[in-house]
Symmetry: C2
Subunit: 408 residues, 2 copies
């Protein structure tokens, strides 16, 4: 039931100030006090602590208004570098950020095996980190931390592996090996938590108090934020909405079950919908990213294609129902769609999904929920992991004791 001491409250205030400064770019103490709701005296003390760690620096002075100029502050990007690492099913992407969480460089290495083992995952991560650091000319001693997003439920075959049936077990093993090989302070998390963190720091989460972030790509899942905190779950598996049942005893899912949400609104699921409508369509067999881009392009062409329209309509139906279930259970203030499928299809998918979501909520529970596409684009998993590594660094230097990811 976690009691919080005044020390914890102080830690949160420091995060709030940093958060506000990162969001604003540059800011005065007075503006930070206004945004965070803290007193100017508290902000001044916190700024002094953060300057002591080299995390905040002057950014000139503001001469606005009648009074004497006030000092503008910024997060000091040169304080160090942070790595955000997205371990996907076919590649590992490592992105180098500065301490103001601005991207400095990025590399992508392919995953060695089609069914990744603990060993091959570890090797690919190590190679991505080494390449990213050498390409950006960053010294290891200058790296404040690295955050690695490891996917949870991957496939029935893998989950049947007696050695590592669950997220924690397998990922503890990967983390253990990475610790030996990488020589950097490490944080390991589920990509859904990474996406939720990115949305909390840089997206809609800056002002929403409860939020569901639905990630649409090959797989689908949801990050859940309640009272500004990420829901982790008793076994670290909260938000595995992709394997909730949408159609009882429906399409088979790669997790081994039937009728999962992912089998209908994951990119391969959407392609399956197209194949059910028109097995010989030109988009029926192309690779999944090409398929999603093809859907978006065809939809926007004048004339259009009735098959594509039917696919978008059915997908919005599936997605609206599935999001409606999440909304019924969690009752969030905001739902954001993210991931490459959401970015490619954008409002072409959001608008009919929103209509479906509201149509399905006559009793009011989900009528008022805000639905949109996340403004955090490109590498939200890596951005989120870098942010989590940054939070961990703040803890290591005594500036934070809360919001840290599960210690593995």
């Amino acid at each position: 039931m976690g009691k919080r001491s005044s020390r914890d409250i102080r830690s949160e205030s420091r995060l709030d100030v940093l958060h506000a400064l990162l969001s604003a770019g540059t800011s005065t103490r007075g503006e930070l006090a206004q945004v965070t709701g803290l007193s100017i005296a508290t902000v001044a003390t916190i700024v002094q602590e953060l300057r002591g760690e080299g995390l905040v620096a002057d950014a000139g002075s503001s001469a606005l208004g009648a009074g004497r100029p006030t000092t503008m502050l910024r997060v000091n990007g040169d304080r160090g570098r942070i790595l955000g690492i997205d371990v996907a099913e076919t590649y590992v992407r490592a992105i180098v950020f500065d301490a103001a969480l601005e991207q400095v460089g990025s590399v992508e290495v392919p995953m060695d095996e089609s069914l990744p083992s603990v060993g091959s995952v570890t090797e690919s991560i190590v190679r991505a980190v080494d390449t990213a650091l050498s390409e950006t000319g960053v010294d290891r001693a200058h790296v404040l931390g690295a955050g690695v997003a490891l996917p949870g439920l991957i496939s029935a075959e893998e989950s049947a592996d007696a050695v590592a049936p669950r997220w924690a077990a397998r990922n503890v093993e990967v983390l253990h090996r990475l610790r030996e090989r990488i020589g950097l302070p490490l944080v390991v998390e589920n990509p859904l938590k990474a996406i939720a963190t990115a949305e909390l720091w840089f997206g809609r989460g800056r002002t929403a108090s409860s939020m569901v972030i639905a990630n649409l790509g090959t797989g689908v899942g949801a990050g859940i934020v309640l009272e500004g905190k990420i829901l982790r779950g008793a076994t670290h598996s909260a938000g595995e909405w992709g394997h909730a049942v949408l159609v009882l005893d429906g399409r088979s899912c790669r997790c081994g079950r039937l009728g999962c949400v992912e089998a209908y609104v994951g990119a391969p699921g959407i392609q399956q919908t197209l194949r059910e409508i028109a097995p010989d369509h030109e988009l029926a067999r192309v690779p999944q990213r090409e398929f999603i881009d093809g859907l978006a392009r065809t939809h926007r062409e004048s004339g259009g294609d009735p098959v594509v329209e039917e696919v978008l309509e059915r997908t919005a139906h599936y997605l609206g129902v599935a999001l409606g279930d999440l909304a019924s259970i969690i009752d969030p203030e905001v739902m954001m769609l993210t991931g490459w499928t959401a970015w490619a299809l954008g409002d072409d998918l959001v608008d009919p999904t929103k209509a479906e979501l509201q149509r399905r909520a006559p009793a009011g529970a989900t009528t008022g929920v805000e639905l949109g596409v996340s403004t955090v684009r490109g590498s939200s998993v890596a951005i989120g992991m870098a942010t989590l590594a940054f939070e961990r660094f703040l803890g290591d230097v005594g500036l934070s004791t809360t919001r840290l990811p599960l210690a593995l």
Copy 2:
């Protein structure tokens, strides 16, 4: 992002001490310190405050061990009376509790109309309260508070009512009228939150940190507890799991949508399953409580009835899938079943449901979740509402500032 002051922490400590004392019946200061994790000095201070309000009294002394006898404490039931009121679809039940939350008396009055209006709901509640107080001989001045559970989503017809489409709007109106009529300190809540409160104080929630309480009756819904706190939701509708979709475009539900969980595992839904298997079965048209009792009785008879077995099997399948979805999204430590259907069918339903839940979770997310039938029986909604009214009373006398229900 709710900051908590040390005053809040103190409030929680007071609730923890009261909670521990209610659970134990009688206890020493040392035992209370052990159970709550607070220091003996803190417990002594809190006990003094609670004695000051007449909430805690001596219960003799314990002569165990070698030292001098230590004073046993108990919650002072005679401090006052508390009302817990369960507004169901066809009746209002008012239960009178003492300040130690022991039941003193109970009355039930029928609801006047089949489709209750704000006016008829108010009148039935007033009549139930008046009758309960006069039958138990309790003076209004001696009542510390009353808690009223008002159901949320009732029916498509009612929700289509332009005046009160949502929980908050209609219930604010009922509360407003009750304030004028009842003359007692009032708390209004959703029955799911009441059930979750009862489970937190008197059931499995005393030791679980995250928990889903699935209520199975005419309707179904879930109370969700995270880190010892009840999830309310942005529009006060969290846990409306009964209207999540189990079968896409499936059976029509009384909420006006298709394929809701409730249409399969609510008592009328279970009876519908039986009618689909055997339309002319002797249980096909009996009233719903009689139907559920009939299922339980027939199942336990030697010989049995293949139709009843098939109904239980399918229901466990539906319930396992629906609970699996909840578990995937929330990832709780514990799931408890409650409500009259769960109590009647008990382990006959729980064991196959548990098997289904685990079968559907090959990837591990829900494998470890504990599933059981709640030990809080009979009137968990009324017990929970009385507890919420008790918490409100503690706030009114300055002994608590947290965990109070939404102020309406």
